[in-house]
Amino acid sequence: MKHWESRTRNVRDAAAILPVAAIFLLLPPVILIFSAPVLIANIPLIVLYVYGVWAGLILIALMVALRVEEAGRNGKNEPDEA
């Protein structure tokens, strides 16, 4: 099914983009934007940012893993490399 295939590909793309996005967010210059000496709710901004990005990555990875598993159940196998 076309719809299904495109969804599988979306998952694959997301899985491949995730580490790149992580590197982008955690390296200068992006991380320097958030290293200003600012407190938000009395917590340093950088602490919120780093832990926030971390938690976000985990959440997306969890979703990717679930989707891949779902694809594995529906399709014959886990969607392989193109």
């Binding site: 790149v20 992580a22 590197i23 390296l27 917590i43 950088i46």
Partner: protein, 894 residues
């Protein structure tokens, strides 16, 4: 303080629980290998040995000293795991498919089962792990000493304690015992250690719970108010811009590399992996574990800086904070957490390294020096197990020695030296998985150069001006050569020593790896292995046996299998009925044995063991070509197409030739048929004519009647002979030598031919006269054929003669070895331009009303040529046509 005996008792009780878990795990795994022990959760928890005591104690210490820098050590692995789809999945699949036993086995197998490479990787791993193990021993010793120091926690934390090496020794001994009992008990096919994994999972839970408990307690001290929690935060946390420089990048890279390349990480992530489900769950669960572990590191560090006297060792804040507040239970929990993280790391590291040492250093050496016991299977297994046990002791001992020699205090600094060491594997590992052109020589040169630079710029200076490298060398370079200073190599000044060392070692490693790989062609085996690794998702079904053709004697093979695997497994391996009957083992059998051996002694050693008994080994170039990547496949495909089209062309040409031949035969057939009908027609005509005369003139004289009947009979028998020869199908073949030629007198033939035509002449009112007769001569050949020519010529002369008083005269002569017959008529003759044309097939004279195929003259000429003679028209220009037949006289002239 806590009483030392109490602490020891608690430690022993805890270890006893671990023993029980490991024992239960082993037993359960034997009963049911697919149980909860291989569940993704246990797998993820076992990966968390990444968080050793460096994390448990050192993360807080690092946070207190350098602010947020510590997070990089956990973000690196997070990136690798959330990006599992890109790299980790492939690594784990290759490891599982090829039954990898260690990172050294993986790299050596990838580069053509190179023994040298396996040994070098093992060497680097051992050297790089020594500081790491010493770090654990140091953490264990320190925490025990602090916990039991009579003067109390505050003093303990703030004063420098002389490390107790006796205590460190006993701890090391205890760790060796545990590792040996559970890690080196059996030689397993897949090197999976279920008992150890179960124990590690328990320890992973303990250390997480302990650190979370301490963290929650610390935050509770500040009444859960972020303002209070971060009140005393050091500048490095409030204003962290300086943290994110080159060192941040370096730490991220090193941590990402280490979570794959550390021998113990490779062991739990790749070797212990049994299906893709595990890695899928670990992709988010392991980062989550890391996040939870790091959640309270900053609050604990801030609290430690705030509440403990200045100068306290920040690496022990986790322990000294609850101690100071007299929370003994929490203190003990924290101690057990640290204990767990340190012991699990040492146990798995020593197991992984012992496998590597025995498979890649001891076994190859023993094979080469023929040190292997010949006594039998038990002795062999005993030898391997002893080797591994000794290796465990050796590895832990090396850590102890490093602890004694090094003078670095911070746990993180020691750990990072290890990270930089194992990161040297990364180019070979990544290149091996994605770049099929990477060669063993490239990997070897890269690794060795990386090792040398790492040692020179990081390890040796870490001893801080001892005999290994003097203080003056560190400051001014060896022999005062400034550009060789270990911390500013080639004048690269102003960088952190770690960044500096990582930059130089990795640059040299990657550069040499790529250049040397490009410079040399890989061996066929290496090329084959590289394809198996690089294209693992496409070629999981490919097996070595299809490519490599080998033969060996079953008896030899069995002997090796028995020596290494033991009699029971060997018997099972050779139980096949087919195998039992034969003497020579095929590819299948050899590959199976090699695989089993590889699981025990590593791919390289297994290969060299097998190659001793293999009598004949070839790698099928055809098969290799087939595997050689997409481009090559397409090329092979188009070659195949070309070959096919050439075949088709050849077939088409053959068809065309066959068609041509068919046409010729068809034409021959037509010719044959017309010839036949012509030949049949001539006697028939004369028979009909004479019978017509006989019927029309009943009053004819008896003598005349008899003559006519004679002619009719002659013609009938000629017809019969003709039909006989048709039945024999002789005529289709070219004329010569169908019948044995006979000698005959052509004059007789001419006379009888004229008689045959008499009836025709009579009907047409033509006068047929015989003029001159030749003397008696002899010709050789078929008289009937010659008769046919004569009849043809005479009947033509009669048929086409349109003169008012038609007359045909026949004369014959012989002179100069040539017999000549002339058939003349007094008709209007044949136009000069038609002289040759009338001899062609299907050409007739210009008289309408005469039926026939027009073959007569053409056939006559052919027959004449068979006699070696000529048939032509006289061109002297007289009125009427004159056919001349000249045949050489063959025999005696009479």
């Amino acid at each position: 303080m806590l009483h030392p005996d109490l602490v020891i008792a608690i430690c022993l009780a805890y270890v006893a629980i671990l023993f029980a878990v490991a024992f239960a795990g082993d037993r359960r795994a034997r009963r049911d290998s697919g149980g909860w022990l291989s569940s993704p959760l246990v797998y993820t928890l076992s990966i968390s040995i990444y968080c050793s005591s460096w994390t448990f104690f050192g993360a807080v210490g690092s946070a207190a000293r350098n602010g947020l820098e510590f997070i990089a050590i956990y973000l690196g692995p997070t990136i690798v795991f959330v990006g599992w789809w890109v790299f980790l999945r492939k690594l784990v699949t290759v490891g599982r498919v090829h039954n990898t036993t260690s990172i050294a086995d993986f790299i050596s197998a990838r580069y053509g089962k190179s023994q040298t490479l396996g040994a070098v990787v093992t060497l680097i791993a051992v050297i790089a792990t020594a500081p790491y193990i010493s770090l654990q021993l140091k953490a264990l010793t320190d925490s025990f000493q602090v916990l039991t120091l009579p003067r109390g926690a505050v003093t303990a934390a703030s004063s420098t304690i002389e490390p107790d090496y006796v205590l460190a020794f006993w701890i090391a001994a205890g760790l060796c015992v545990f590792s040996i009992i559970f890690g080196v008990r059996n030689i397993d096919v897949n090197e999976r250690h279920h008992g150890v994994v179960a124990a590690i999972a328990v320890e992973a839970v303990v250390k997480l719970v302990a650190l979370l408990a301490v963290g929650l307690w610390v935050v509770g001290l500040s009444d859960w108010d972020p303002a209070l929690v971060f009140a005393g935060a050091p500048a490095s946390i409030i204003d962290p811009a300086e943290t994110f420089g080159p060192r941040w990048l370096t730490l991220l890279f090193l941590a990402a590399a280490a979570v794959i390349c550390l021998p113990r990480q490779f062991q739990v992530t790749v070797v212990e992996n049994s299906d893709n489900r595990q890695i899928r769950t670990a992709s988010w669960l392991f980062p989550l574990y890391l996040l939870l572990l790091c959640l309270f590191v900053i609050p604990i560090a801030i609290a430690g800086l705030e509440r403990l006297p200045a100068g306290s060792n920040p690496d022990l804040f986790v322990l000294t904070l609850p101690m100071q507040e007299n929370y003994n239970t929490l203190t003990l929990l924290a101690f057990l957490g640290g204990f767990s993280s340190a012991t699990s790391m040492v146990i798995v590291s020593s197991i992984a390294l012992s496998t590597m040492i025995s498979n890649h250093i001891v076994m190859p050496l023993a094979l080469r020096l023929s040190l292997l016991p010949q006594a039998g299977a038990e002795a062999m297994r005993h030898f391997i197990l002893t080797t591994r046990r000794c290796a465990v002791v050796f590895v832990v001992l090396l850590g102890l020695i490093y602890l004694r020699a090094s003078n670095s205090d911070a746990l993180a600094a020691i750990g990072l030296i290890s990270f930089c060491g194992v990161a040297q594997f990364l180019p070979s590992l990544v290149g091996g998985l994605y770049w099929s052109r990477a060669t063993a020589a490239g990997a070897l040169v890269g690794l060795v150069c990386g090792l040398v630079l790492w040692g020179y710029t990081l390890v040796l200076p870490s001893f801080g001006g001892t005999a290994l490298m003097s203080a003056s060398t560190i400051a001014d370079g060896p022999f005062g050569v400034l550009w060789l200073r270990p911390h500013a190599l080639f004048g690269l000044n102003g960088y952190d020593p770690l960044v500096h060392a990582v930059f130089w070692s990795m640059t040299a490693n990657v550069l040499l790896f790529v250049l040397v790989s490009l410079a040399r062609e890989p061996t066929p085996l290496a090329r084959f292995q590289s394809m198996l690794f690089v294209d693992v998702f496409r070629r999981q079904t490919e097996t070595e046996q299809r490519i490599i053709r080998r033969t060996a004697r079953i008896a030899d093979l069995r002997q090796i299998a028995e020596r290494i695997l033991g009699p029971a497994e060997a018997t099972a391996l050779f139980a096949d009925r087919e195998v039992r009957r034969s003497i020579i083992a095929g590819d299948n059998m050899i590959s199976r044995v090699e695989q089993r051996l590889a699981a025990n002694v590593g791919a390289a050693s297994a290969r060299s063991l097998i190659s001793r008994v293999v009598s004949d080994e070839t790698i099928s170039v055809q098969e290799l070509k087939r595997l050689a990547g997409e481009a090559e496949q397409i090329r092979a495909y188009s070659e195949e197409l070309e070959r096919k089209s050439r075949q088709v062309e050849a077939t088409a040409a053959a068809l065309a030739a066959a068609n041509q031949r068919l046409r010729e035969v068809d034409a021959q057939k037509d010719e044959f048929l017309s010839q036949i009908s012509h030949e049949v027609r001539t006697p028939m005509t004369s028979i009909r004519s004479f019978s017509d005369i006989l019927l029309a003139e009943p009053a004819m004289q008896e003598e005349q009647k008899l003559r006519f009947l004679n002619i009719i009979q002659n013609e009938s028998s000629r017809l019969t002979r003709l039909l006989d020869s048709i039945l024999e199908l002789d005529l289709l073949r070219t004329a010569s030598a169908r019948h044995a030629p006979v000698d005959f007198d052509p004059e007789d033939v001419l006379t009888s031919a004229m008689e045959s035509c008499e009836a025709l002449a009579h009907t047409a009112g033509t006068t047929l006269v015989r003029l001159r007769s030749a003397a008696s001569v002899t010709l050789s050949g078929e008289p009937d054929k010659l008769a046919q020519i004569f009849i043809n010529l005479i009947s033509n002369a009669i048929k086409y003669n349109d003169a008012p008083k038609p007359k045909v005269s026949v004369s014959s002569s012989s002179s100069g070895g040539v017999y000549e017959v002339r058939v003349e008529d007094n008709g209007r003759g044949i136009a000069k331009q038609d002289h040759e044309r009338i001899f062609l097939k299907f050409e007739r004279g210009p008289v309408v009303g005469h039926q026939g195929a027009g073959l007569g003259l053409s056939i006559s000429r052919q027959i004449t040529e068979q006699f070696g003679g000529k048939l032509f028209l006289d061109e002297s220009g007289k009125s009427g046509a004159c056919f001349i037949l000249q045949v050489p006289i063959s025999g005696r002239e009479g």
